[in-house]
Symmetry: D2
Subunit: 420 residues, 4 copies
């Protein structure tokens, strides 16, 4: 019943779904029950909550509202923001959920996974249910990345800055100067064909595919490095009002921000999922806000790309790079690649100049799922390309990620653009 | 030395500038020295400050930094936000400036106007200085509208809700149902030619003129009325989460917002510059935020137009309507106009779906004037068309106004759009 | 009908009341209508509001609720905090009252004064009404001091730091070392006999007179000087946590407080009602909070006196010193007085160690006047003695003033005590 | 080496200390490692932190700064507020301490207890060290009560309101009307003899014993009940401004407070350490702030007692009642006791009218221990008598507890007083 498609990942949905569920458990494995409770700011969630919320999503949308829930009290505490489904536990208080225990949440996962498998064994999945399973899988993958960024934030605030793992892959390398790659403009099309309908999964806000006029432009062949950003810091970038958006300038003044999120005060080391490490001047700078990215670009005499420019340049590239699967969980130096664009996928999410807004003709999914993306279209900016914490199978050239201009706890970095 | 242009207002710059300066004084005339000090929130400024700040702009940029200033202390208190020029008095404390007195500020205006006239008499205006005078004139006009919106806000908070004027023109009329007007799409161009250079004034952020692809669409033939918005209120629009952006929903909950800014609690009257009046269900609803405009559009099964759509539809229309010159200072009912678009200019600024972002190839003015617009390009939305408080000569189809999605004290209203 | 009393000021009530009303006008005379509108923080009020509120108090309580009010809208805006009388204009928005104008407020004062005089001419004052007139007079005097402290605060925030007056009396002098004066302890009585009843005015919270046991102690013969406080600043007083109450330490950290309120950053000058002046190291330090006073005392190896100790020491002294009548409006150096206590009255209010709490057997006045003092008995500390801005006739040894431990805009200073 | 005293608990220090340490473990036993991490507001601490902090206190002050610490990193995270000892982990972030685990904290406890026992076995305790051990024991007992009040607060916010224990003793009973018991006044003495020195432990702020004059008064024979407080609620107590301190009124308005902390919205049930239960109208009302206690007293035509009055009345009574040892962990109905005072100790802490201030001649302990109490003497009010969560051996008539007037999460209740 699940159709393969030439353009879409050929792997069967059930296999992919199993793999995703298993991978989430692997990500949580280094965490104690106590670690899994940490919520260090209202924007983040405990690992235990990610484990349970993705399971609730599966239970509610795939098994369905009619099925007997594992625990009737879970809907209230593991629904994230679906107002139409019922009251929810306050987001900033997710860290207060000592009950259910991690053990019980893992039992919840196993129970729901078994129930979905039973459904699949009975060949009972309608096309709609397949689509919901696909959506649940994609949703699971989003929370895999959030689980990593959220625990990183929590551990960074611990006085002893513990490592999430001490066996992460590190492969230092040198990187050459940044080069400009000319890109053609014109009457192009961006966005994905609407799903469901096309066979290939894409979130609602990636559609419809639509025409855009862009002028010729140039893109940097790789992401901005820690060393390049260090020069910005040392040459007074954070003290020069004319480089900043007015709102960004007020924000860095009020918060006393003088460097990327996890950099040490002396700009020599940074906190990583492997614990504190010396800043690698050859690797991409990471954990900068849009305000910092935009100010850096102005300082560098460049600008950020629009999302249409970015997607046009990425559309012919393979989705390859440094993802969660590479098990570095930190950005790495770009490969030397003298003729093309490096690091478009993986390593760091790249802030664009584009506000998060609906594409022309955008239609949200119907019902509760219509709350998935459509209601966050104010005050956020688009990021593209995926990071070292993203699963590779989750990404594509049309993928739109979005965060507020002050958000820094994602693996967010910078690629420069300029007019041709 | 001031060249006329076929496409541009032929009236001589000097005459227009005189008229603008005189008009500002007329706007301030109903205010006592005490009224002219009122600052009711950090976003607004006292009328006295507007009178002085526009004069400081003229003195600093037209007479020039070399000229002997009227008072060396004024730069600090009447500079608005030009970081590159020097330290400034904190914005939220403009209401604490009892000194200089209104009388002295009026003397300051007369002094600087005389000095500019003396320059013009000596035929000393270079082309650059002419441009600066044009910019000062346009800047004066912007502050004319702010003077009105700011004093309206201050008076609305006075327990006795005094009228700014009691002789304003009121001309009630009935308005028919709203009709859709189909608009063609395609490969269009929007924006103004860069000024200076083209002869026609436009702000830097209106340029460069550039190509945009738009799909066919339809626009409502007039603005949304008070009666239509009242139906939204009464049918629970402010209590239905699914109509709102997530950020907007949180905002109306936190602030307890249940109706447009100046409506009375029983939804029967509204505060105007002529004092409290019964809500005119036939006249455009006004003083709504972008969040309210966007939620209303969703409730109505429509959407807000993009700024490209709006400009394309407006580009062939005359700049005619209910402006400050009509001396109503409040939106009026649309004329019956069965075949075209009414109220595109004047009455109310129309919120668009577009975030305020730079046009492709945007270049800010150089020097301190580069701070005019370019540094406000985060977190704001575009409004188009002008209002009942805008001077007619200040407007054009390419004019971009911008405010935060929660701002409501401008004369902001709604025009609906939909896909074709 | 107004009885004189051997122990009480013999001057007739009517004469004293005339003098007080006239003195308030004299205090407001240096202020323009614009100055009289300034409200620089929620705790302060505009001078115009003080002028009108004291008049409303007189109209409401002396002429009575039955009399025709001058303007029925005034009750709402000029009632301060009497919840039982009706709704009130929000305190932090008193600065938005451009209407009524200062001219109209002065007419209001004249009108109500005339009406009270007409009552007095008709010999119509009952004993109750006499008491209310006495209370209104005392209330007027309280607002005279607040008018001065409030305008001082507002002018201090003006970028040009204007002087309230430029003709204030300045009489510098040197002061010798501080000496300890031993005081006897034992079973003493403090507080005033209840008024009305005794003939001598006192506020309700000064009564009843009651017995207190105190141990022998010593008082400093004069107030702490600017020079002594400067030593505390320079020797790191504001950087030594062990000197501070925990709440006070958190407060100075959060607010970045490193010196008395009106001292310049370089600790060389201070803002006064006569404009900026060099700090007089011989004159009392002024505008310190209770937290600062208490920390200074600990640093000096001493403590603050309790209010019982202070009153016992002051009870035999004449009410003499540097008051508003001396027209310095700033603390002056103590007279050399080798055997007694100097500056117990006038110059600076002296923070005591005592929380503001009811005396044993305290009874608030009945009706709305019961809200005068009784409801402020939480979170405030007692000050004693009066200041350079207090009218001399307003003070006595039993007088209790009270402010929050972070308040600094009153003329508050320090006198040290220690155990015997 | 540890001297017994006729007036002091004769049980040997070592036995008492063992019992206290063991009791803390028993209190933590019902909590999972996840429960033990909960911090629901900045004022509270996780149970794990209480377990570790009391151990750090023992290690630092009894074993001494010279001894090899169990873990050198613990000083930073388990020091509460001793500024003089070094930097500390921010209080509101104690809930982020997933590391060390509960298991490791329990190992820390065992290790330090063993080390102290080894010291005692070697007979190595000097008199000073004995005193420090006594202080550590008293400190341990304080945290036992906080552990209970803090976990109660955290569980109350959990959507499922879990019970801390489901086997708590409940013994309902009816209670008669409240009666007044006359108390004599005069020249009395309160406070404890200074420790160390007297043999009997008391905290520094209970000393010196000193003379106070009090007038004759009357005390209610028992605490205010839930039923009596319900009448206050139902008769509009929370809506009547004249009953409240001004600051308290503003606070209940701003926070929307309409009932005691753990009461359900319909005033039928309350959250207890045994989970939600019907409100017992015969048992003492509990979890009210000082503002609520003071307003209730005014509504009842009474007042709160001063701490001198309370201590005088309690000084001849045995320390008997409903304490932690009774294992109810909730206040119970008073025994019928027609001639005396019931519930003076145990059940609920009783708010007094007295601000927390130093007694005349107060001397803080020297060194870091001087930070124990002395620096909290601003903005807090005294409570007396102990609660159902206090260990009986921790209490005495001179015991002073103190909290902010808005604090409600302690077992705080009300006893009325009135003038004779």
């Amino acid at each position: 019943m699940i159709a393969a498609d030439d353009n879409c990942p050929p792997l069967a949905l059930r296999t992919r779904w199993h793999a995703a569920r298993t991978h989430t458990l692997a990500l949580a494995a280094p965490l104690s029950a106590e670690d899994a409770m940490l919520q260090s700011m209202p924007d983040t969630s405990p690992a235990k909550w990610h484990l349970a919320h993705t399971t609730w999503f599966l239970e509610h949308f795939v098994l369905g509202a009619d099925a007997q829930p594992f625990d009737p009290g879970f809907a209230r505490i593991f629904n994230s923001y679906y107002q139409s489904i019922g009251p929810r536990h306050a987001r900033p208080q997710r860290g207060l959920l000592s009950r259910p225990s991690l053990a019980r949440v893992l039992a919840y996962r196993a129970h729901v996974d078994d129930a979905v498998d039973a459904l699949l064994d009975r060949d009972a999945l309608t096309e709609t249910r397949c689509q919901l399973l696909e959506l649940a899988l994609q949703h699971e993958q989003q929370h895999q990345e959030l689980l990593l960024t959220d625990i990183k934030h929590a551990f960074s605030l611990h006085p002893q800055q513990p490592a999430y793992r001490d066996d992460l892959v590190v492969s230092p390398r040198e990187v050459g100067d940044c080069k400009w790659r000319a890109q053609v403009g014109g009457d192009i099309s961006i966005g994905a064909a609407a799903w469901p309908g096309s066979g290939c999964f894409a979130f609602d806000h990636e559609s419809p595919r639509h025409r855009v006029w862009i002028e010729p432009f140039a893109l940097a062949h790789r992401a901005v490095t820690g060393g390049e950003f260090l020069a910005f810091v040392r040459e007074g970038g954070y003290r020069t009002a004319s480089l900043w958006q007015s709102e960004g300038w007020d924000w860095i003044q009020a918060q006393g921000i003088t460097r990327p999120l996890y950099w040490s005060e002396d700009e020599s080391s940074e906190f990583t999922l492997g614990g504190p490490r010396a800043i690698d001047v050859h690797a991409p700078v990471v954990h900068v806000s849009w305000f910092e990215a935009e100010a850096f670009a102005r300082w560098a005499g460049a600008r950020l790309p629009t999302e249409a420019e970015w997607e046009q340049a990425a559309s012919t590239l393979p989705v390859a790079g440094n993802f969660a699967e590479q098990d570095a969980l930190h950005p790495r130096c770009a490969q030397r690649d003298d003729n093309g664009l490096a690091q478009m996928f993986g390593d760091v999410w790249e802030w664009t100049a584009s506000a998060y807004q609906p594409y022309p003709g955008f239609r949200a999914l119907s019902g509760a799922l219509g709350e998935y993306n459509g209601k966050f279209m104010s005050g956020q900016l688009i990021l593209r390309g995926g990071s070292c914490a993203s699963p590779v199978s989750h990404l594509r050239a049309s993928y739109r990620n979005f965060f507020k201009p002050t958000d820094r706890w994602q693996f967010s970095g910078i690629r420069l653009a300029r007019d041709a």
